[in-house]
Amino acid sequence: MARRIASVAAGAWLLLALPATTLAAPPPQALTPEHRQRLHDLLVQDCGSCHGLRMTGGLGPRLTPETLAGKDRESLEATVLHGRPGTAMPPWQGLLDQREVAWMIDQLLQGVEP
């Protein structure tokens, strides 16, 4: 029992492989500077609670540009919006819209400074 759970949890957070839904990314520059600051704070402080302020991982996986390189962007966005069942990653849909998530993924891909 414990073994199966372990492999599910570890596998899920290592693979980042939720089925991608089709999401058209609108231009992220539509966000105001204040809005971007708020999202940056959320990314660093709240996402950082699990992923680390420097995105080097914690309870959640590492999300540095190197680890995210080559990942499918739509599945990254889907992971944030819908969460990852069986793990501690919650769905952010309802708190964040797709445009905001797209901007945050951009930040992660570029590297986040606390």
Binding site: I5, A6, G52, R54, L59, A88
Partner: protein
């Protein structure tokens, strides 16, 4: 080498004497450490040294690395703080000299730790590499390495070990911790530091996320994230194994998404009742401490993160996960009613009572301040600026089992 030193000796003695005299002249007045505390400034990797007798900041101590999830324990003489940082840093801070005494980076990613019953050992729970590492509290030299079990991972993935959470000290020179990925509790007897004796408890439940020890040192209680319930180990009869309590407290209701893991700390007992945060629900759960049955579920404003008792146990203070983390609610332990809903400011992350409970300190991260409240009048007494403050730890923890 030796002969060369001899002629220098009189000179160096004189020098030393002069230095000592000037040090005496300049050194601050004698002081004790019983009313000191550490506030973690998570963004800047620094600490504030504070004093709760006069509600003031004494110093900022910098250079502690990534403190995004940091916790602190204190030496038994209350002089040193040991800070566990996210980046695997273990830092020993001298509260009197107001500076870092020593620092090691002992792992890749850590979550917290504990100081042993005799004060000689510091244990750190690590996510990476998963397991427990034990250090000498004087020198921070490694004493023991207790790796967690390897996980079965998909082919091609680096081997990973189960992540350690909920590290506490327990009577009998033990450390206890839980393993998030493999659902275990381990109890480590460090009587012989060179050969730790490990007792493993399997199948305790899915994904233990944190744990606490009752203040009498008897019960270790691990909260489960992967299912509704908690795992209980009675250290008076460890051979009886782990018992599941609060089983299925949600009774099949859909759990809400969890935006911040609750914390189990500051064992919250008032009379015969214990108070714990429900995972993924806007509830504080109440248990009967005699039989560990749930007796009530108190509806609160959001998902609770910390559920802390005022030291006289008449009130329970609760803070919340995003998006309700601007609120704090105060529960009366006799009626289970919410007697006040405070709005200290954006991002209330942690609460710490002074040892006798006449003050409670709140870190209000996004306001950049720490607030001191009078929990009897429910009014604010003082405000101290701080850089993205998170955990607040007073030295009185030095003498609490499990903290």
């Amino acid at each position: 080498m030796k002969p060369r030193l001899v002629p220098l000796l009189p000179l160096s003695l004189a020098l030393l004497l002069a230095l000592m005299l000037s040090a005496c002249a300049q050194s601050p007045a004698l002081r004790a450490t019983g009313d000191l505390g550490i506030i973690v400034e998570r963004g800047s990797g620094s600490l504030l040294l504070v004093e709760h007798s006069h509600q003031r900041r004494l110093a900022r101590i910098e250079g502690l690395g990534d403190l995004s999830h940091a916790s602190v324990v204190f030496s038994r003489d209350q002089r040193y703080a040991y800070v566990f940082g996210r980046d695997g840093g273990l830092t020993k801070v001298d509260l009197l000299r107001q500076r870092i005494d020593r620092r090691v980076v002992q792992g890749g990613n850590s979550i917290g730790g504990a100081i042993s019953q005799d004060g000689r050992l510091i244990a750190v729970g690590n996510y990476e590499p998963g397991g427990l590492r034990v250090f000498d509290s004087d020198t921070l030299e490694p004493v023991a390495d207790i790796p967690a079990p390897l996980l079965d991972t998909a082919a091609g993935v680096d081997s990973k070990r189960s992540r350690a959470v909920g590290v506490v000290d327990a009577p009998g020179q033990r450390f206890l911790f839980s393993l998030f990925d493999t659902g275990e509790i381990w109890s480590v007897d460090m009587t012989e530091p060179a050969s730790p004796e490990i007792s493993r408890y399997h199948d305790i439940g899915r994904q233990p996320y944190d744990a606490l020890l009752t203040s009498d040192g008897r019960y270790y209680l691990a909260g489960l994230f992967g299912e509704d319930g908690m795992a209980l180990l009675d250290l008076w009869q460890p051979e009886a194994g782990v018992e599941r309590v609060l089983h299925h407290y949600g009774r099949g209701d859909q759990r809400l998404p969890v935006y911040k893991m609750p914390h189990l700390e500051g064992w919250t007992v008032a009379g015969d009742s214990a108070y714990v945060p429900a995972v993924g629900r806007h509830q504080v759960l109440v248990l009967d401490r005699n039989n560990w049955q749930q007796t009530d579920a108190i509806e609160v404003a959001g998902q609770p993160v910390f559920v802390m008792a005022r030291p006289d146990a008449r009130q329970i203070w609760v803070n919340f996960a995003h998006p309700d983390n601007h609120l704090v609610q105060v529960i009366d332990t006799r009626s289970h009613r919410i007697i006040d809903t405070l709005e200290p400011g954006p991002g209330v992350l942690h609460m710490e009572f002074t040892p006798r409970g006449e003050q409670v300190w709140l870190s209000v991260r996004d306001a950049g301040e720490v607030q001191v409240w009078d929990p009897y009048r429910l009014t604010r007494m003082a405000t101290l600026p701080a850089e993205k403050p998170s955990g607040i730890f007073f030295t009185s923890r030095a003498h609490e089992i499990g903290l």
